[in-house]
């Protein structure tokens, strides 16, 4: 579904991604780990179409199409969802209004009529239950005054509403208490189908106890320096990133 080939990208002239290749097949869960500043969020931003990040080389193909040519909102409507590491506040815009606009944009894209107000609210209710989100949150302005954990749960709620084909979750587990972590993981597992895929960016092995990845990648200094099965996450947790750094530096030397 997604093929990334030798992707290089820069922000404000500074090279951040230095040649990333990765393939995600339908139904797969990929975990991406890596030290702070290694470029994980930048990769997510490129995939979601943020113009702040400039692609300097490489290709990204999504269902056979050139993803890099598509506008961010079209990528969203084609099924790419990004759970933000730092969800944005939009004061005065109610979650209901925001989600209704988003859902109806998706529907229009699929040639469907907009949902009626009552059908929409019913859908909201169902999804809220699915991800066990406090129903009061949905009546407030988008992320405004939400706690860190509430913001993350709200991302999962939005994912549930939009039913993406490829969901990229950028540290959705950071800042969550144990219960919230379980809820987020449950949300992901309930939405998992044989034909949709996840890229889960995380620093912690514990999330991967709940969401079992098919593959774990380590991103270091803008490159994927290691790819292995889920046991890699355990190894990282135990040893930290130093051994990877050493390995990488040795490779470069030799």
């Amino acid at each position: 579904m997604l093929i990334i080939n030798n992707l290089k990208a820069a922000i404000a002239g500074k090279n951040i991604l230095k040649g990333i290749s990765l393939e995600v097949k339908p139904g797969e869960i990929h975990a991406i780990m890596g030290p702070n500043g290694s470029g994980k969020s930048t990769l997510a931003a490129v995939l979601a179409g943020r113009e702040l990040v400039e692609v300097t080389e490489g290709t990204v193909t999504y269902f056979g199409e050139n993803l890099l040519k598509m506008a961010a909102e079209d990528r969203a409507k084609e099924g790419i969802f990004l759970g933000f590491q730092y969800p944005i506040e939009i004061p005065g815009v109610s979650m209901v209004n925001f989600m209704k606009t988003a859902v109806n944009e998706h529907r229009e894209h699929k040639g469907l009529d907009p949902l009626s107000a009552s059908d929409f609210l019913k859908m909201m209710r169902e999804k809220k239950e699915l991800v066990e989100i406090d129903s009061k949150l949905a009546n407030r302005s988008v992320n405004e005054g939400f706690s860190g954990g509430e913001k993350k749960k709200n991302e999962i709620f939005q994912m549930a509403m939009l039913e993406p084909k490829l969901a990229i979750l950028d540290e959705t587990d950071s800042g969550l208490d144990i219960d919230a972590l379980r809820i987020v993981a449950n949300g992901v597992n309930k939405l998992k189908r044989p034909d949709n895929s996840f890229i889960v960016i995380t620093h912690y092995q514990r999330l991967l106890d709940y969401i079992v990845p098919d593959v774990v990648h380590v991103l270091y200094d803008g490159r994927i320096v290691k790819t292995a099965g889920k046991e890699l996450a355990l190894e990282l947790e135990e040893k930290g990133y130093d051994w990877i750094k050493n390995e990488v530096e040795n490779n470069i030397l030799t």
Binding site: G49, E51, V93, T101, E105
Partner: protein
Amino acid sequence: MEKDQDKILSDVTSGEYKYGFYSDIDMERIPKGLSEDVVRIISGKKNEPQWLLEFRLKAYRHWLTMKMPSWPNLKIQPINYQEIIFYAAPVQRKNLDSIDDIDPELRKTFDKLGIPLTEQKHLAGVAVDAVIDSVSVKTTFKETLAEMGIIFCSFSDAVKEYPDLVKRYMGSVVPYTDNFFATLNSAVFSDGSFCYIPKGVRCPMELSTYFRINSANTGQFERTLLIADEESYVSYLEGCTAPSRDENQLHAAIVEIVAEKNAEVKYSTVQNWYPGNKEGKGGVFNFVTKRGLCKGENSKISWTQVETGSAITWKYPSCILRGDNSIGEFYSVAVTNNYQQADTGTKMIHIGKNTKSTILSKGISAGHGQNSYRGLVKVLKNASNARNFSRCDSLLLGDKCGAHTFPYLEVDNQTAIVEHEATTSKIGEDQIFYCNQRGISTEDAIGLIVNGYAREVINKLPMEFAVEAQKLLQISLEGSVG
């Protein structure tokens, strides 16, 4: 692929004005220019009583001694008053007894603007006074309202039918000497709405006046007088549009409100005069004096305005809180896009004891627009326990526009509590991207964000108009995303 955020914003914020059409209506106009004769002609056209002609002449003579004020934050070309037509009116066939007597072209005009001149069922909650250029052409639901003793009619009709009320209240809140434009208006005012709510009556429907400038080179000088007698309530709304033209047009109106004891008046404005084109050519000069007098105890006047139009807006809807425990409120959203300029705000004059005022101003600047809030909170010596809370927020779209805040404070009573807050923010690239990522286009994202920002004010509008105002905000900032 590289798209600069400012480019997106500038594309998005350069939408077209949708009410710029001109209607070919059979009009009667007087020659352009201003003189004592012109004042007499206007008064004569309206068959006015002598006292009113004298009021006009006094104002005119006073005006001759005045100079147009200058403001540091507005750039205004000099106005040549000899080039303006001071009276233009659709030719009417006879007395307007039924809707069929209205020129079909005129009806079409208001239909196109979405303003019904017929008393339609689905709009049963709104009575409309429709004013085109210098005259009121139709007031709906007059009879229904009359059953409750409510007077809602054109200003000209009020002069004929209720001269005592007009004489008693006209100029009592905005005297003819008040300021350059108010004085000009007092000399040449054409028409407008008059409204009287009798003691103890809650007006059951929204009253509204719709102002339309149609003729070229014509000034619009309407005058509205709204009186809420003891224990009464009314919610009133005005809307305005004008054709797109290359030359500037002058609109100098007066609105006077009097609230007696325990009365409450909500006055809402959705102002959408032609703002000029993208290069700043043309557009309406909107110089308006609006003032409410909370005359009786426990009276309340709220101003809510959504200002999206006009090349230049200069207006400060104000409250004189004379009655003890009276309350004044001002809620405003002002948009300046392209080369629009707005200098708007309010004055809250606390005279009575325990008087309260609230000011919430939301400026939105885009393009090269310049948006200033100017507000005065004045607490007089005897106004013990006066309270004011003011908040002025500015939202900037792009980096060529400007926002300015000028709060003035004059407090002569130690017990007063006055608070002022101000913020300036920009629509962030991150907010737009967040919306994009959920499938929402940049244009719609800006609409959502701006409406969210303005929500506290929009919520103060009567329901029927809140939706309109939201659309208007979006339209006035929309365009094609390049």
